[in-house]
């Protein structure tokens, strides 16, 4: 059993009267895609912010490659090797792909931007991830949603992270573009990175994740190996009851189907 690259235990966070996280746990191994699922307000975003250092936890332990660490600001997380790609794309539409990839981190040669070095590095990076875009010199505004998300993910890899957190990477994407991004997530896994995938979409989770960690009301409500769990089990863990709106709806449609069959 390998040491998890990142493990959290007993993490709690309170915002005023709201207990956003209580005793939450999460473990990510190298080369593993862990889906973090849960309903709205379950504490997914809070946990992400704890890991990213945006909102540090009130209590709890974070271990990085086995040793305890403190993450109190975004820089701490980046320095450890945790990269975060946020849901709302953080790209500048008017800049080209190279400029966006290196924004705030440009390479300099004689006090001048090393455009050629950056362009080569960008091409190599995108090629290694099999991200297909018309040219690295087109403005990001001219790319499709999936291509833009791919560029945003590629950008997070420039700092050579070991863990990448993706916050709803496929929200607002079409079917083909979602597939592009899911392919990219698999390539991150193949590179040996630990991936934390925050998603509402259980189809995506089933397609790409190795494990699904369910949060409910700020607590851990289940940890499933994707190959072994059914979607019903995960939905049950998310909603907290076997008798829930989703299962009732399913039962109702099943009834409807059998009724129509009787009619015939």
């Amino acid at each position: 059993m390998t040491t998890p690259v990142l493990s959290l235990s007993g993490v709690s966070k309170r915002f005023g009267a709201v207990q956003a996280l209580s005793e939450a746990e999460l473990e990510v191994n190298p080369g593993e895609v862990v889906a973090l699922v849960g309903d709205n307000g379950a504490g997914k975003s809070t946990l992400v912010k704890v890991i990213a250092g945006v909102n540090p936890a009130d209590s709890g332990e974070i271990r990085w490659e086995g040793r305890p660490v403190a993450i109190s600001k975004p820089h701490d997380a980046t320095a450890l090797g945790i990269a975060t790609v946020y849901q709302d794309l953080s790209l500048c539409d008017n800049l080209d792909v190279v400029a966006n990839l290196f924004l705030g981190n440009e390479t300099i040669r004689f006090q001048v931007l090393d455009e050629i070095g950056m362009e080569r590095h960008a091409s190599e990076l995108l090629h290694s991830l099999s991200v297909r875009i018309p040219s690295v010199r087109v403005p990001v505004a001219a790319l499709s949603g999936g291509q833009r998300q791919s560029v945003a993910i590629a950008r997070s890899l420039l700092g050579e992270p070991k863990v990448v957190m993706l916050d709803e990477p496929t929200a607002a994407l079409g079917v083909a573009q979602t597939a592009q991004v899911l392919d990219l997530i698999e390539r991150l896994r193949d590179r040996g990175l630990g991936v934390i995938l925050i998603s509402h979409n259980l189809a995506d989770v089933k397609a790409v994740a190795d494990r699904a960690v369910v949060l409910r009301l700020g607590r851990n409500a289940g940890d499933f190996r994707i190959g072994e769990a059914t979607q019903e089990e995960i939905v049950q863990a998310i909603t907290g009851a076997s008798d829930n709106a989703v299962s009732r709806r399913r039962a109702r449609t099943a009834d409807a189907v059998s009724l129509t069959e009787v009619d015939k």
């Binding site: 790209l91 705030g104 931007l113 080569r120």
Partner: protein
């Protein structure tokens, strides 16, 4: 920095730039045409509309009055656009951030007044006076920037307050007398009344073209070494040829009258210098990024406030340089300096030249090109003796056309970006 001399070549360099300071041409023959079509469809027009507009204006005025395209008139045009052009360079930088600075004209008038008070009334040496005035105006701009970033007042309002306030200070500095005259022989007056010798003009022009060609070849060699797609040799050659022809034509025409004026040289150095800063440095890249998406820039770790404050400081400094050039041209500073239509023309020049009002798109060549367009209209109307009514209405029409084009191309980009 190399001294680069150019006039008509502006569009050539500017079109290399693109909005982001990168070169977006796919390699191979025929790639150029496809790229041009793609840029047209997606609203990346670059400087072409304004170049075409300028040619149309010149042809129309020349056909109405044979004296329009004479060396004398073009020389006067070159000297005339220097002051407003310098102010416009600062306006372009502020517009790139997606902000606006309405105080530039008042600051330019104030700069002239302080310079006159220092040098003429108090005997401060001209050179020291010029440096002092530019620094004072940089402080004024810093103050604008601090109010915009740290207090959160919209730049429009800060500029409006500056527009009124600094004009008031200008009147106070000038005092009851109202007008201060510079000596005809002083450094200040010489700024716009000095010309290069014919040989000097040619040498500088050749040096500029030489620098451009050398930089292009060096870039191409590094691209080859790095295994990146090369830019089409034919295109690069054509571009260098157009640049050389433009520079040669300008020098030839200006030498036919009094030679290349120092004022034009100052403007061109400012335009080219700041264009290089914008496209080739991290600082310039951060200005484009903030104009494109503030939140993304902040997340990328850019010091957004510092960049904004510095750009406001730059805009006021450029306004000071413009004010000094204007004072130099008229040998005097008066209560009307920096007043009337200076502000509107400086902003109009930037926008007509192709700088987007929405931030993140444009280049300092807009100041030169837009200034040429406005200067040409003014000069043509003057030759036709039509007076201010026609001048204002025609300038307004051109400005409106430029803004409409900007809005349409923005819409085109949107439609294209979300396809």
């Amino acid at each position: 920095m190399s001294t680069v001399k150019s006039d008509v070549n502006g569009p050539v360099l500017a079109s290399t730039a693109g909005a982001a300071g990168g070169v977006a041409e796919p390699p191979g023959p025929g790639g150029g045409l496809a790229a041009a079509r793609r840029r047209l469809r997606s609203g990346e027009l670059g400087s072409w509309p304004v170049v075409i507009g300028l040619v149309v204006i010149w042809v129309v005025f020349q056909s109405l009055n044979q004296n329009f395209l004479t060396p004398q008139n073009l020389y006067n045009l070159a000297v005339q656009i220097a002051a407003t052009g310098a102010i416009s360079v600062g306006v372009v930088m502020v517009l790139l951030l997606g902000e606006i600075d309405l105080s530039v004209a008042s600051v330019s008038g104030l700069a002239g007044a302080i310079l006159a008070a220092l040098t003429v009334r108090n005997g401060v040496p001209d050179a020291l006076g010029i440096v002092t005035v530019v620094l004072i105006c940089a402080l004024i701009g810093t103050m604008h920037g601090l109010i915009v970033t740290k207090v959160g007042v919209p730049s429009f309002v800060v500029g409006l307050a500056g527009l009124i306030g600094w004009q008031g200070l200008q009147l106070y500095v000038l005092g009851a007398q109202g007008t201060i005259n510079f000596s005809y022989e002083g450094l200040v007056a010489q700024l716009t009344h000095t010309n290069l010798t014919p040989a000097g003009g040619w040498a500088l022009g050749a040096a500029a073209v030489g620098c451009y060609v050398a930089a292009t070849l060096y870039d191409q060699r590094r691209r080859r070494a790095a295994g990146l797609p090369l830019r089409s040799t034919r295109r690069l050659g054509l571009r260098a040829a157009v640049l050389a022809a433009g520079v040669a034509g300008t020098v030839l025409v200006l030498n036919a009258w009094r030679g290349v004026p120092l004022a034009l040289l100052i403007l061109v150095v400012l335009v080219v210098g700041f264009d290089l800063v914008l496209r080739r440095t991290r600082y310039g890249r951060s200005i484009f990024a903030i104009g494109g998406n503030v939140e993304a820039s902040r997340r990328a770790g850019l010091n957004v406030d510092l960049v904004r404050i510095s750009v406001f400081a730059l805009a006021s400094s450029m306004a000071a340089i413009g004010g000094i050039l204007a004072a130099s041209r008229g040998y005097s500073v008066g209560q009307q300096s920096g007043g009337s239509d200076v502000l509107l023309l400086a902003i109009a020049a930037a926008v007509i030249g192709g700088t987007s009002l929405f931030g993140g798109r444009g280049s300092t060549y807009a100041a030169l090109l837009g200034g040429l367009v406005i200067g040409s209209i003014t000069s043509g109307i003057l030759l036709l003796q039509l007076g201010s009514p026609a001048r204002f209405m025609i300038t307004a029409g051109v400005l409106l056309a430029a803004v409409i084009l900007d809005s349409l191309s923005r819409r085109g980009r949107r439609a294209h970006g979300r396809e």
